[in-house]
């Protein structure tokens, strides 16, 4: 019995060893060595991105930007820049020009109801006019050099050739980047000197309801120093200008923007806000020159005709008269 069980145990052990010996390579054949089993796959990484950021890794060169391997977002940004920005700008700017043309032909020039009085009163002092024209000249330069970056390639290269256009655009870029600063200064001054006259009030609602008296003749609704329309321009310029300055500075100093995605966003915002601002300013230029009789003088000489002032800013004239009681009404300009 003892010998038999001994024999049985040995056989069993041998059988197990044999099984191990033959089974091991068989198991190996079922699972071939696959060095890529745990390797990163591009497809997985692309899916994990979900439209954001970049597939990044480690680089041995001392430029961390080089560590971004693939940024699929770049293609989307270029698409947006070339379609959305291009078409929005075209639509907004040309749309405003069309609107103003129609307005001019339908409404015509808004004339003084009672003609010129010949006497003028001071509306803007020289400092206010300086701030206005500083901002205005800068804005026009910024808008032209900016629009050139969007449209020049399609409109101006065929006209002037690639070399001339590139030279001009290089100059335009320098102008854009440096004129931005006096532009910001102008916005800041205007904000400080005019904010007190631009606080929205109940009277502005009435002015808007009456369409500012611009849509049809028959008198303008009462207004203080600035009517609702002018307040809208003021706030568009201040807020739009601030937004353009903010996004523009991010474009100028890419480090401030941080990752490329932020820069791209700032760029799109800059371009779209610029388009809207350009349209607003076109309307402003129209009404300040061609669109309304007597309006330009306010920013030209700073003196406006008394009748113009009474028609457009009745409450301002009234306030002004009480303030300078004792003096003759308004500043009497020498008869010309």
């Amino acid at each position: 019995m003892v010998a038999q069980s001994y024999f049985a145990r040995i056989t069993l052990t041998l059988a197990m060893l044999a099984a191990l010996f033959f089974a091991a390579p068989m198991a190996g054949a079922q699972e071939p060595v696959n060095p890529t089993a745990r390797s990163v796959q591009e497809q997985q990484l692309l899916e994990a991105l979900q439209g954001g950021n970049a597939i990044s890794g480690r680089v041995s060169i001392p430029d961390q930007r080089a560590a971004d391997l693939i940024k699929p977002e770049g293609r989307n940004w270029s698409g947006t820049h070339n379609s959305t920005v291009y078409w929005t700008t075209t639509a907004v700017v040309l749309g405003m020009l069309a609107l103003l043309t129609v307005f001019y032909f339908v409404r015509g020039r808004i004339r003084l109801e009672h003609g010129f009085a010949g006497r003028t009163i001071k509306r803007f002092n020289s400092f206010e006019r300086f701030a206005h024209w500083l901002t205005a000249v800068c804005f026009i330069l910024l808008a032209l050099t900016g629009l050139n970056l969007i449209f020049g390639r399609y409109v101006l290269i065929p006209l002037f050739g690639a070399d001339t256009f590139a030279t001009a655009t290089q100059l335009g870029k320098v102008v854009h980047n440096y004129i931005a600063w006096p532009f910001m200064l102008g916005i800041a001054i205007m904000l400080v000197v005019w904010i007190k006259d631009n606080i929205p009030g109940r009277i502005d609602l009435d002015w808007i309801k009456a369409g500012g008296g611009m849509l049809k003749g028959g008198g303008h609704p009462p207004a203080k120093r600035f009517n609702a329309g002018q307040k809208i321009i003021f706030w568009s310029v201040v807020l739009g200008g601030a937004a353009l300055s903010f996004t523009g500075v991010l474009l100028l100093f890419p480090q401030l923007a941080g990752e490329p995605g932020n820069w791209q966003l700032a760029q799109l915002a800059h371009a779209i806000i610029a388009a809207v601002m350009t349209a607003v300013i076109l309307a402003h230029i129209y009404i300040g020159t061609l669109g309304m009789e007597g309006a330009f003088d306010a920013m030209g000489s700073g003196q406006v005709d008394v009748n113009w002032a009474r028609e457009h800013h009745s409450l301002w004239v009234a306030e002004r008269d009480t303030a300078v009681e004792g003096e003759p009404r308004g500043h009497v300009a020498p008869a010309e």
Binding site: V40, V59, A66, G74, R75, S78, L149, P260
Partner: protein, 198 residues
């Protein structure tokens, strides 16, 4: 005409950076600019992979579409090149490029980047082929000499392939079938809007 492409077989790349060095030397690339670089994904983890990347010479190149002075052009071999004479250094192409290829000799502050530089697929620029003027701005024009880009030519493991897209895709496909694995043709989906099906 061939449709030139790059393909990096990440399962072969050993991150030796020879392609990077070859490129810098062949074209006398300015200090601070790397037309080619090797990025290691999941560095130090099991399954890490290194990919050698440069300009991919994209189909419908995003860089070309945003350039305000339209200074890019595509050669008959589908290589995307640009003119440093026209470039105004606005930086737009850098932001449009999915591969970080465009680089500038100066820091971007105040729009002062200098002329954009990127991989030319060893095909020079708009100047006459193999002239000094071309070499100074863009580096060697190996394509005009009938040679392929140096980075791929001297890759010791032949991880980096350059040449006609169909041919290198076929080589890659064969490798994947033979060895049984492949981590993908890195960048192809983004650059050419196609990938290699094995």
């Amino acid at each position: 005409m061939a449709r030139m492409k790059f393909l990096c077989d990440a399962d072969r790349c050993i991150e030796c950076n020879a392609c990077v060095t070859a490129c810098k030397n062949e074209h006398e690339v300015p200090w601070g600019i790397n037309r080619r670089r090797v990025v290691t994904i999941n560095d130090g983890l099991p399954g890490e992979r290194s990919v050698s990347m440069a300009c991919m010479h994209c189909t419908d190149a995003p860089c070309a579409s945003v350039c305000p002075v339209d200074c890019f052009y595509t050669t008959a071999d589908a290589v995307v090149l640009h003119s440093k004479d026209l470039c105004i250094g606005c930086g737009y192409c850098f932001y449009a490029c999915p591969f970080g290829a465009p680089q500038y000799p100066k820091v971007g502050n105040f729009g002062s980047r200098g002329k954009m530089d990127k991989c030319t697929y060893c095909a020079g620029g708009p100047e006459a082929d193999m002239t000094m003027a071309e070499y100074e701005k863009y580096g060697a024009n190996r394509l005009a000499e009938g040679k392929l880009p140096l980075c791929a030519e001297m890759c010791s493991t032949k991880a980096l392939l350059a040449g006609d897209g169909d041919i290198i895709a076929e080589i890659y496909r064969e490798r994947v079938t033979t060895r049984g694995y492949g981590s993908g043709a890195w960048g192809w989906q983004t650059a050419y809007q196609e990938s290699i099906n094995v």
